[in-house]
């Protein structure tokens, strides 16, 4: 069975109905395990104390923020190149979730930054890139909101998403340049590639839990969006349908 078989929204909805409960269950289990591990199993940092546990939320959220954009870029290709009818639904539904994860990464990062750097925010290259990513998410969401026709909005947003995807490396590169030019204020050296397994495992489990959370939310949002579009087309049809009836009415003299 290929993905094309799910081009039919009805079949897709049936699939969602089957898959969603299992996915939700897995997600809950993963979160239970991940939270337990990160709060009780993982050791405190000898410098940072308990605040290090923010990492188990912060890092997966940051990863997911980036993954969401990749999924949107892929879906946009689906809209423009393969003309898959669900692709723009997928892209539209991923945007708010991506924005939420980005926002979560920003908030947890800032909360972490206060004890670490003494300030909630520095214009560090990585943080700034995340902020720009947030603006891009919000811009896309606004574009979708301001266009009445979902198909047309989907195409416009797909173009913008792809142009954004092409641009993201350039933005990252230029922000790095900008920051090194001004001597980095960065302190974010805590992680590095040599992470102790005691930290790594909870992190990985949390990352899996976040990914599952994304898929659960995404599928639910897609289902809602499909239903919303059906309602819309039913209403559009309702507007047009009674036209013949009206003509019949009109033959009576209007008082």
């Amino acid at each position: 069975m290929s993905i094309w078989d799910y081009a039919n929204p009805t079949r897709f909805l049936r699939l969602v109905q089957v898959v969603l409960p299992w996915l939700t269950g897995l997600c809950v289990i993963a979160f239970a395990a991940g939270l337990y591990m990160s709060f009780f199993v993982a050791p405190e940092d000898y410098q940072q104390g308990d605040t290090v546990r923010i990492m188990y939320i912060h890092v997966p959220a940051a990863w997911l923020a980036m993954m969401c954009y990749s999924i949107m870029a892929l879906s946009s290709l689906g809209t423009l190149v393969w003309k898959h009818p669900l692709a723009d639904v997928s892209a539209k539904c991923a945007a708010p979730i991506g924005a939420a994860f980005t926002f979560m990464a920003l908030v947890t990062g800032s909360l972490w930054g206060k004890p670490m750097w003494g300030t909630y925010w520095v214009w560090d290259a990585r943080l700034t890139s995340v902020l720009v990513l947030l603006i891009m998410y919000l811009g896309l969401m606004t574009l979708w909101r301001t266009m009445e026709d979902p198909i047309r909005a989907g195409k416009a947003a797909a173009i913008l998403t792809l142009v954004g995807a092409l641009n993201l490396p350039i933005i990252k590169f230029s922000v790095d340049w900008w920051n090194t030019l001004h001597q980095p204020a960065s302190v974010m050296r805590a992680g590095g590639p040599t992470i102790h397994p005691d930290i790594l495992w909870p992190l990985l489990v949390m990352a899996i839990a976040f990914t599952l959370l994304f898929f659960v939310l995404h599928l639910m949002a897609m289902r809602n969006e499909i239903l919303r579009r059906r309602v819309r087309s039913l209403r559009l049809r309702a507007a047009g349908a009674a036209q013949p009836g009206t003509v019949a009415n009109a033959t009576q003299p209007a008082e």
Binding site: E148, R235, A238, A239, A242, T246, N249, A250
Partner: protein
């Protein structure tokens, strides 16, 4: 812009303004509606409310529908009902009807709760028309009222216009086609009146 135009209209009758393209029909109607200042001459409505301008006794039904696509059909109509001041004159006994009733009369009651953007051109035009029914004003100024309407809707519109005349209202309408109105007077604008003076401002 105009020279030597004068007419007198009884309540209960309609004035049909005709003339070639660009002769100034729309401009005449907009002047009567108070949207273009009167360069000279007088405009008087006998028996109108004293403290109100002439144009506040009139509904203007122009080329534009004044319909917001993102509001529902009913919301659109209710806004105009509450925002437009109703005006009564002794001769005019037209009744105001409720928004839903007006939509029903015009055959778009089923679209009540839909966003107005879902309507077709003809339906939108009818929604604009409903505005005239929910607030009573004795004078209707209508610029090519039948444009964009198909034959059936046109007939219905004429029915409503005749009903307005029957209840003592007045209609002034510009048109290119023949309208089957009950009691009409015709004002045919000619080139000598307008076109040659199109730019008759202080510099000529």
């Amino acid at each position: 812009m105009f020279q030597d135009i004068s007419f007198h209209l009884e309540s209960g009758s309609a004035l049909v303004v005709t003339g070639a393209n660009g002769i100034g029909k729309s401009s005449l109607l907009r002047t009567l509606a108070g949207l273009v200042p009167l360069a000279g001459g007088t405009l008087r409505l006998d028996g109108g409310e004293e403290d109100r301008a002439t144009f506040e006794h009139a509904h203007y039904f122009g080329h534009q529908n004044a319909v917001k696509p993102s509001l529902s059909v009913l919301e659109n109509l209710e806004f105009w009902m509450s925002f437009t001041n109703a005006v009564q004159t002794p001769d005019y006994e037209g009744a105001e009807i409720l928004p839903r009733q007006a939509l029903d009369t015009l055959g778009i009651a089923h679209t009540c709760d839909l966003p107005a953007g879902f309507l077709s051109a003809g339906q939108t035009r009818r929604l604009a028309m409903a505005r005239l029914l929910v607030t009573a004003r004795p004078v209707w100024l209508m610029d090519e009222p039948t444009s964009a309407l198909d034959t059936a809707s046109e007939k219905q519109l004429l029915g409503l216009m005749n009903a307005h005349l029957a209840s003592g209202g007045m209609i002034i309408t510009a048109t290119h086609t023949d309208l089957a109105l009950t009691s009409t007077q015709t004002l045919n604008l000619q080139a000598s009146d307008a076109a040659t003076q199109t730019i008759g401002d202080a510099f000529s």
